[in-house]
Symmetry: C2
Subunit: 397 residues, 2 copies
């Protein structure tokens, strides 16, 4: 049946595709999957936190009672009861969020892609933190934006910079809680100043919040969404509080934007799996997360403390690092002359891995930075891995 002597195609990719690269992190992860490696590189939540039995029971119940509905095509905007749950969970006494403001998506990453699709033209100015979340930079990059990096200090981005840098921009992307990659948290005062500054410019403010529930002290800061529901786009996810492998998140936005995002989603993948949404609703509707999330906080908080302790013991005093109050990451700044990519090459030889900081910058990278994740590594291995890194850094001084 084969045709005679076919010629392999000379592929001509789109301009946007020519700019695509594989994520630096995913490439490192491939190297560090071997069991002998102590990996601080992953952004994966700890599987110890996955409520397997709760999910198994929910799949069983939904398929037993509503199988034909769960397995059919569903609406693009999402499963009604789950949208309502999300809206209720985000509403405050003076800022009510409506279910029709919620678009269910196939993980937060899809929310980022849809926002890029709908808001970014070639050359559009997009404000990002310094550093910012790599996955967002990747998703937006496909649409050809010009990134503008907002100056920051230990308390996160500086809202006063928005007024001048944000003129004519299409959006500002921020991760205010236990940021990926730095673990930094934006104070209430800065949140209010940021929301006000964006409102003044009419600039859409994206509040990406996958880690907000993972506050070690159990008291999350107020959401920017509730400070201005007409101007803030909120992104949430079930990946860090339930399980990432099912791919489920949501975008909450004013109606005109939700409508556009829904049209874009329809062209992109029709809808997010109906079964997944019904099962997650079944699993959480009776308050499961209220018991479950504190167990994740405890685990991560303990391992964060173990890493901070080890850093204090083994890292030279010329290095500095963030002290997260929640989430999954610590950010290390080394003396200027040390390139963390060079450090990584040496560390991998000694079976320790992390992610160099450079890819997290929208503009000029700071090559003396790195990201450490502590959530999938038990304390004794954290100690050992940090000891090895500390010795390598000391030798480079």
């Amino acid at each position: 049946m084969k045709i005679n002597n076919p010629t392999p195609i000379q592929w001509r990719f789109s301009e946007r595709a020519q700019k695509l690269q594989s994520s630096a992190i995913r490439e490192i992860l491939k190297v560090t999957m071997r069991p002998e490696v102590i990996s601080f590189a992953g952004g994966l939540p700890s599987p110890a936190t996955f409520p397997v039995e709760q999910m198994r029971a929910a799949y069983d119940k939904v398929l037993s009672l509503q199988g034909k509905i769960a397995l059919q095509y569903g609406p693009t905007d999402g499963y009604g009861p789950l949208r309502e749950w999300v809206a209720n969970s985000l509403s405050t006494s003076d800022a009510k969020i409506l279910p029709e403001q919620v678009l269910m998506v196939s993980g937060s990453q899809q929310g980022l892609d849809l926002l890029g699709k709908v808001l970014i033209d070639e050359g559009s100015k997009v404000l990002v933190e310094t550093p910012s979340y790599l996955g967002a930079l990747q998703a937006f990059s496909l649409y050809g934006p010009e990134f503008v990096s907002l100056p920051s200090d230990d308390g996160g981005l500086l809202p006063e910079a928005v007024e001048t840098l944000g003129q004519g921009a299409r959006m500002l992307y921020a991760l205010p809680n236990f940021q990926n990659p730095t673990g930094r948290t934006l104070s209430v005062e800065r949140r209010q100043a940021l929301v006000a500054a964006c409102d003044k410019l009419g600039l859409p403010l994206i509040e990406d919040d996958p880690y907000g529930a993972l506050s070690y002290r159990g008291e999350p800061l107020p959401k920017m969404l509730n400070m201005n529901p007409d101007g803030v786009i909120y992104m949430g996810s079930f990946s860090k509080i339930l399980t990432p492998g099912i791919r489920l998140g949501y975008v909450v936005a004013p109606r005109p934007l939700v409508e556009k995002l829904e049209q874009a989603k329809q062209a992109t993948d029709l809808h997010t799996a109906q079964l997944t949404q019904m099962v997650v609703y079944e699993a959480i509707k009776d308050g499961f997360l209220k018991e479950h999330i504190p167990t994740i906080r405890k685990l991560y908080s303990d391992q964060c403390a173990a890493m901070l302790d080890a850093l204090q013991t083994y890292f030279p005093s010329s290095a500095s690092w963030t002290k997260p109050e929640g989430g999954m990451f610590i950010w290390v700044t080394l003396p200027k002359h040390i390139d963390s990519k060079v450090l990584l090459a040496q560390a991998i030889e000694q079976h320790v891995a992390f992610v160099p900081g450079a890819p997290f910058y929208g503009n000029t990278p700071e090559s003396n930075t790195l990201r450490l994740s502590f959530v999938t590594v038990p304390p004794e291995k954290i100690r050992k891995g940090i000891e090895i890194l500390g010795k390598l850094i000391t030798a480079m001084l």
Copy 2:
């Protein structure tokens, strides 16, 4: 916590987003969800064919035995054993398909979006059938192509047109088996001529095949993929042979393209749900589809026969329609002066719905056409609905 007197945002959407519209079909579906409506409008498979118990048992088994893996993030290219299953199922004695040529996606629609992202620039020439699948036109449209409609007859597209129309094009998109919307099937001779014509031009040929397994006589025609694995991009789906609500499909392509698609997918949604892929593999690995697919064929074949019979009885002789040998759709051509949108408005008043043909054209629409789906309507209702449509059409003559 709210800021004072916020101003609602004046949304400025990207140029591509301004072109976005909600699918005509999805809008019609909203109207026709009421139970009193006899709807031939849907593209949904019949829920009677969903193997609910098989899926329930597979979820139970995967979550019981491999829950922590299934609920974790997974690789972007897909679950290894399922990629291998797909590759084996598509391999023939003289055209072996390798697992690394398979990219798992969140439903075929995502495959279309990724192909558009990676192959289409603003103004790129894209060849499509006349008419073509609406979802593909929508997905590609976001990337600004210039569609070129290939001439066709009752046997589908005419391969001899490719040599002149295909010069400088980026791809040719075809649905050779029981096409959506027409139900037409491309003969083996035309397949070979099409593959050869595309090879001569170095033109990537997309073979979209969601219905291929639903041949009423049980003998699918040879795949174009196997006629030239180096030049054909094959798209498959579990939506029509297992269940659509889980959102699972695949793209099979030469490695240089798979690599680009994988990078684009990473930025788009990281990966398709690991749990879904493991469960589908569990459900089908021991040959379940071999027993299951014939039951779908039988149901659809019977209902197709009922509709063809009713059309013969109730439609005027000045109308013509396709006689599908598989799949889910019949395509009707009315006398030139009848606009099927006008017919639809009258039909909905009498509680019958279908999809007008115009949105399925990449270029000049033929407004006297319409698509009928027979798979979710029992034979007695098919008869009644077609009788109503026949009377309305006769009155318009």
